[in-house]
């Protein structure tokens, strides 16, 4: 299972994948906390009336993309260095 944080800008049609965390790499609590922090960070940056931040779990990033074709070719935002 992967945990995904993504965003969709309804006005521009831009979709981005901001985070993909694999279950088992760290504790479930730590994984959820990191994802939650990313959601909060993105929501503080974006206008929620225009940009939707999405939190999802799926078998893989491919499964997530398939169930929401808005993200079919969404680029993965590299983590900050």
């Amino acid at each position: 299972m992967v945990t995904i944080v993504a965003s969709w800008d309804a006005a521009s049609g831009q979709s981005l994948i901001h985070m993909v965390l694999e279950k088992g790499v760290e504790s479930d609590d730590a994984r959820r906390a990191r994802a939650r922090q990313k959601v909060e960070e993105l929501e503080s940056q974006f206008d929620s009336s225009r940009v939707e931040v999405i939190y999802s779990v799926a078998r893989s990033l491919d499964d997530f993309r398939s169930t929401d074709p808005r993200f079919a070719s969404a680029p993965l935002v590299p983590p900050p260095s």
């Binding site: 309804a10 006005a11 929501e43 929620s48 009336s49 931040v53 999802s56 398939s66 074709p69």
Partner: protein, 320 residues
């Protein structure tokens, strides 16, 4: 990217003109009369395969062409899938009459549990009141008390249950994803519903603080998955919306289940991979007011979604 046009299959099956010169395509798209088409339901598809031409070309307005180009740019992957479905349909020797006959047969005896729950809105309201009485988070009308971390844990439980219900061995093409609503998204939705004098919409009313999408590989799998969901959730199902038997606007087809998870309601959507692709091509262009689309393009997308349903129907009956 060429624009492919073909009439509904009752005309003729269409001719693939491979290697069509770009100038011919350009002539079609730029030298068209604005008059409405004399054909029944002009039908379009986008592909890199040249031009499919029926007994006559649909007449298109320049605005319609611009809409198609816009959709093409935005949904290149989706329109390719639509084009492939239509190409498959032609290769199967599909014709309007046989597809309509099969479709009627499917609707008379669908493999999925059919019919929507009557008075679903009343049931959701009643459940929302029950949830609000039990839990301050659910009684909140602003979303300020929404506990996102609880939603995160809940969504993983739902996801895990769905994986157990629909194992890969039995549903090899199934794609499953579950979501928890992000805090600002929830606040926007709740506050939007509580505009003006009405302030009685609570977090408990929301059916998608946790949600899931299941897209399977075929209509048969959709039916099987839906029956398993109904057996699993049983009397926890607050409502069912059957958009398979009664498609939504623009041809949307899926089954939606609102289920009671104990501390909230959740929405589980079940569809097929192909139908999902068709839906998302329309959803954000038609229903998001920030991205308008012309009525002609909207009509053609609905038709394409219906066409995918026909192709799925033929596959279900083994007509391939």
């Amino acid at each position: 990217m060429s624009i492919c046009l073909f009439s509904d299959g009752s005309e003729d099956a269409g001719i693939i003109l491979g290697g069509t010169p770009a100038s011919f395509v350009s002539n079609i798209t730029t030298n068209l009369e604005p008059a409405p088409s004399s054909l029944d339901k002009p039908y379009w598809s986008l592909a890199d395969q040249g031009v499919l031409a029926g007994s006559g070309l649909a007449t298109l307005t320049p605005k319609y062409i611009n809409d198609i180009q816009f959709l093409n740019d935005r949904y290149a992957g989706v329109t390719d899938k639509l084009a492939q479905s239509e190409t498959d349909a032609l290769k199967m020797g599909y014709d309007e009459v046989s597809a309509m006959g099969l479709h009627s047969k499917l609707m008379q005896n669908p493999p999925w549990p059919s019919g929507s729950t009557p008075d679903m809105r009343a049931k959701i309201t009643a459940k929302a009141k029950e949830l609000a009485a039990q839990n301050p988070e659910m009684s909140c009308t602003t979303g300020d008390q929404y506990d996102f971390s609880k939603a995160q844990a809940k969504v993983e439980n739902v996801y895990s249950d769905l994986l157990d219900l629909l194992p890969k061995e039995q549903y090899p093409d199934a794609k499953i994803a579950a979501r928890a609503k992000a805090p600002d998204s929830l606040k926007t939705k709740v506050s939007g519903r509580n505009q003006g004098d009405s302030k009685d919409f609570t977090v408990g009313h929301l059916t998608d603080t946790v949600g899931a999408r299941i897209d399977v590989g075929s209509l048969a799998d959709l039916g099987s998955a839906a029956k398993k969901l109904e057996a699993h959730y049983g009397d926890k199902i607050v409502g069912r919306l059957d958009y398979m038997s009664d498609p939504g606007a623009n041809g949307y087809r899926a089954l939606h289940y609102i289920v009671d998870l104990g501390d909230r309601m959740a929405e589980i959507q079940v569809s097929t991979n192909q139908l999902r692709a068709a839906d998302l091509a329309t959803h954000d262009t038609i229903y998001k007011p920030l991205v308008p689309i012309s009525n002609e393009a909207a009509e053609q997308l609905r038709t394409a979604a219906d066409r995918i349903m026909f192709v799925e129907t033929m596959k279900y009956f083994g007509a391939s």
